[in-house]
C-alpha cells in the first residue's frame, strides 16, 4: 500500500467519523429540544459522501437532499456555521433561513440540500449545462438523491437531459431501503435502481454503498469520465437507513429486529476492521481521531448556543439582491 493510498484512506475514515460525530450530537440535541424543525440523519450512510467527495475539487458542484448533513460536511463545510444553521441562529450558513433541510453554501459548491424529493436533479442538470455548454470548464457535478427520488418525474427528465447534452454529471442514488416510511422494494419497479440508466443510454452501476473503498473506486472512474467529457453515469450505492426518516420517527413500518440486524454492516466499523488489518489504524489512533472530531463538534455546539438568533425583521431580507427589509 502506497503512502498516498494510506493517507486517502485515513482521510475518508476521518470524514466518516466527523459526520457520525456531528449526527450523533445533532440527534441528542434535537431530542433535547435544542434544535427546532425536523432533522434527517445520515447515520449509516457516511461511506457514500466520504468516498465520492474524496475525488472532488473545491470548484466542483454537488446537489444534496433533505438528508444532507454528510454531503455538506464532506464537501468541506465548517461545523460551526453548519451546526448554527440547525439551531436557526444568525451565524448559520444560511443565517437561520434554511435550517437542516435547506443547508447550502455556494462557495463550497453545495447548491443546496433540498426539502423536495428529487428537487436537486434539475438543479444539477442546469449546473452541468453551464459548465459544459457555456463556460466550457472541466468542473463536474455530483447529484445525490435517494431511492424515493428515482420514482419522481424529475429524475427521468434529468437523466434524459444529461445524456442528450452529454453533461458532466455523476448521479449518485443512495438507496437506503426506505423512501420516508415506504419500503423501497414495495414502491419501486426495479430491484436495482441503476438499471434505470439503461432507459436513458446512461451507464448504471450498483455497488455496496457501505464499503467506502468500493464507493471511492467507482466514483473515481465516473468522475474522471465526466471531467474528460465522457458524460453522465448513475451509481446506485446500496445502504441502509439505520435511523428513522426523521429524528422522532415512531417507525411503525419496520421492526426493531430488522434494524438491529443491520447495525453490524454499518460502514465505519467495517472500514475500521479493514484499516486494522492493513495496519493503518489501531486503538490509539482510532481514539485520537474520534476525540478530535467529538471535540470539534462540541465547539460547534458551544458556538451555536452562544450565537444570537437573527432579528425577526431580518425575515424581510434576502429575497432579492437589492432588498433591505421591504415586504414585497
Amino acid at each position: 500500500m502506497s503512502i498516498l493510498e494510506r493517507d486517502k484512506m485515513l482521510e475518508m475514515y476521518e470524514t466518516m467519523v466527523r459526520i457520525r460525530a456531528f449526527e450523533k450530537r445533532a440527534e441528542e440535541l434535537f431530542l433535547d429540544n435544542k434544535i427546532p424543525g425536523f432533522i434527517h440523519l445520515y447515520i449509516g450512510e457516511e461511506a457514500i459522501a466520504a468516498g465520492v467527495m474524496a475525488h472532488l475539487r473545491p470548484d466542483d458542484f454537488i446537489t444534496s437532499t433533505h438528508r444532507g448533513h454528510g454531503h455538506m460536511l464532506a464537501k468541506g463545510a465548517d461545523s460551526k456555521p453548519m451546526m448554527a444553521e440547525l439551531f436557526g441562529k444568525k451565524t448559520g450558513y444560511c443565517k437561520g433561513k434554511g435550517g437542516s433541510m435547506h443547508i447550502m453554501n455556494f462557495e463550497l459548491g453545495v447548491l443546496g440540500a433540498n426539502g423536495e424529493v428529487a428537487g436537486g436533479l434539475p438543479i444539477a442538470a442546469g449546473a452541468g449545462m453551464a459548465i459544459a455548454m457555456i463556460k466550457k470548464t472541466d468542473q463536474v457535478v455530483v447529484c445525490f438523491f435517494g431511492d424515493g427520488a428515482s420514482n419522481r418525474g424529475a429524475f427521468h427528465e434529468a437523466l434524459n437531459w444529461a445524456k442528450v447534452y452529454n453533461l458532466p454529471i455523476v448521479f449518485v442514488v443512495e438507496n437506503n431501503c426506505y423512501a420516508s416510511t415506504a419500503c423501497t422494494h414495495e414502491t419501486t419497479s426495479v430491484e436495482d435502481i441503476a438499471v434505470r440508466g439503461q432507459g436513458y443510454n446512461i451507464e448504471g452501476i450498483t455497488i455496496d454503498g457501505n464499503d467506502v473503498l468500493e464507493v471511492y473506486e467507482t466514483a473515481g472512474k465516473a468522475i474522471k469520465k465526466a471531467r474528460e467529457g465522457g458524460g453522465p453515469t448513475i451509481i446506485e450505492a446500496k445502504t441502509y437507513r439505520l435511523k428513522g426518516h426523521f429524528v422522532g420517527d415512531p417507525q411503525k413500518y419496520r421492526g426493531e429486529v430488522e434494524v438491529k440486524e443491520k447495525w453490524p454492516g454499518e460502514p465505519i466499523g467495517r472500514f475500521e476492521n479493514f484499516l486494522r488489518e492493513k495496519g493503518v489504524l489501531d486503538d490509539v489512533s482510532k481514539e485520537e481521531i474520534w476525540k478530535k472530531y467529538e471535540a470539534e463538534i462540541e465547539k460547534a455546539i458551544a458556538f451555536s448556543q452562544e450565537s444570537p438568533y437573527p432579528a425577526p425583521e431580518e425575515a424581510l431580507t434576502d429575497l432579492f439582491v437589492d432588498d433591505t427589509g421591504y415586504d414585497y
Binding site: 458542484f61 446537489t63 448559520g92 450558513y93 444560511c94 443565517k95 437561520g96 433561513k97 434554511g98 435547506h102 447550502m104 453554501n105 455556494f106 462557495e107 447548491l111 443546496g112 433540498n114 426539502g115 423536495e116 428537487g119 436533479l121 434539475p122 438543479i123 444539477a124 442538470a125 442546469g126 449546473a127 452541468g128 449545462m129 453551464a130 459548465i131 455548454m133 457555456i134 463556460k135 468542473q139 457535478v141 418525474g153 424529475a154 427528465e157 434529468a158 434524459n160 437531459w161 442528450v164 431580507t317 434576502d318 429575497l319 432579492f320 439582491v321 437589492d322 414585497y328
Partner: protein
C-alpha cells in the same frame, strides 16, 4: 428610430445583451431551429447558435435547471413556451427558483429570466390561453412583468438580462406582431414603474399587457362622452408602482382595474384592497374590477370572445360611476 414589432424588440434586447455577456444563454422548446412557436425568435439562432438551445419537453428540468445554471455562474434565459405549461414544472419555479436565494440567507445572486407567451385570443382553448401572472404576485420570490408595447418589452428585458434576481415576463401572444417606433439607442426600463399612457381627471384605469390597448380604446370612446380617463400601464406587477396608482386615484377619486386574467383573485383585487386601505378618503366610489370570466377558456370563437374582456367591458364599468 424605426418601427419594430414586439417580437423584434425581444430579439433585439437578447442579441444586444448576448453580445456583451458571453454567459447569457437561452433555451426552451422550439426556439432555435423553429424560431419560436409563433416565429418570434426569427434570426436569433443565426446570431448565437451555441447559446440558443432547443430542449426536450421536460418542463421540470427546463425551469429547475435555471437555478443550477445561475449558481454555476451563467445567466439562463428560459422560454416557457406557453404560460399554461408553467404548471407542468411549477414546483421547480415555486419551490426552487423562488425560494433558493432566500433559504440560502442571501448568498450570491440568482440571475434568471423566464419569459414567453400567455393570453387568450387565438382559440387556443383552455390549455394554451391562460394568463397566470397573479399567481406569481401571490407567492413571493420572483419579479413579474407583462408589458404592452415593444419599447417596454425591450427595456424591461434589458433590465432583467442585466439584473441579479429571478424574473418572470409574460408576453401576450396577440401582441407579438404589434409595431411601434422604438429609439435606436439602447435604454433600460426599471421594474416597478408604471407609465401614464393618457391623462385624465375623472377616472383612473390601471391595466397591463393587452388590456392597456383595450383600455386606451375605451378611454377614447369615453372622452367623446365627456369622461376623461387617466390610463396607467402598470408594466410590472412585482414590484408594482403603488405610488403612481395612489397619486392618480387621489386626483380622480375613482379606480377601475383591468386585466385579462380571471376576475376572481386577479391582481386587480390586490390593487383594490391596497387603494381602499391607503386612499379611502379620496375615493368617490368603490374600486371596480374588469377581469375575465371565471371559467376555463372555451375553444369556440364566440365563446372565447364572451369570456375575454375588451374595451366595451371597460366602458361599461367606467360608466357605472356616473350612472
Amino acid at each position: 428610430m424605426g418601427e419594430i414589432t414586439f417580437s423584434d424588440a425581444i430579439c433585439r434586447a437578447l442579441k444586444e445583451e448576448m453580445a456583451k455577456d458571453p454567459t447569457i444563454f437561452t433555451y426552451g422548446e422550439d426556439i432555435a431551429k423553429q424560431g419560436g412557436i409563433f416565429g418570434q425568435y426569427k434570426g436569433l439562432l443565426g446570431s448565437y447558435s451555441d447559446r440558443v438551445i432547443d430542449t426536450p419537453i421536460s418542463e421540470e428540468v427546463i425551469y429547475g435547471s435555471a437555478v443550477g445554471a445561475a449558481l454555476a455562474g451563467t445567466r439562463p434565459v428560459v422560454e416557457f413556451h406557453f404560460s399554461d405549461f408553467l404548471f407542468t414544472g411549477i414546483t421547480a419555479i415555486v419551490n426552487q427558483v423562488m425560494k433558493i436565494r432566500y433559504m440560502s440567507g442571501g448568498q450570491g445572486s440568482l440571475p434568471i429570466v423566464f419569459r414567453g407567451p400567455d393570453g387568450r385570443g387565438k382559440s387556443a382553448a383552455a390549455q394554451h390561453s391562460q394568463s397566470i401572472e397573479s399567481i406569481f404576485m401571490h407567492v413571493p420570490g420572483i419579479k413579474v412583468a407583462s408589458p404592452a408595447f415593444p419599447k417596454d418589452i425591450y427595456g424591461l428585458l434589458k433590465t432583467a438580462l442585466t439584473g441579479d434576481d429571478p424574473v418572470m415576463i409574460f408576453e401576450h401572444k396577440m401582441l407579438y406582431g404589434f409595431k411601434e417606433e422604438v429609439p435606436d439607442e439602447e435604454f433600460f426600463i426599471p421594474f416597478g414603474k408604471a407609465e401614464k399612457k393618457r391623462e385624465g381627471d375623472d377616472v383612473t384605469v390601471v391595466a397591463m399587457s393587452r388590456m392597456v390597448h383595450e383600455s386606451l380604446k375605451a378611454a377614447e370612446e369615453l372622452a367623446k362622452e365627456g369622461i376623461e380617463c387617466e390610463v396607467l400601464d402598470l408594466r410590472s406587477l412585482v414590484p408594482w408602482d403603488k405610488e403612481a396608482v395612489l397619486e392618480s386615484v387621489k386626483k380622480t377619486g375613482r379606480l377601475v382595474t383591468v386585466h385579462e386574467t380571471w376576475r376572481r383573485c386577479g391582481w386587480g383585487a390586490e390593487l383594490a384592497a391596497t387603494v381602499q386601505e391607503e386612499a379611502f378618503d379620496y375615493l368617490d366610489g368603490p374600486v371596480l374590477r374588469v377581469g375575465g370570466r371565471n371559467v376555463p377558456d372555451p375553444f369556440s370563437p364566440p365563446q372565447e370572445e364572451f369570456v375575454m374582456p375588451n374595451k366595451d367591458w371597460v366602458v361599461k364599468e367606467v360608466k357605472k360611476f356616473f350612472a
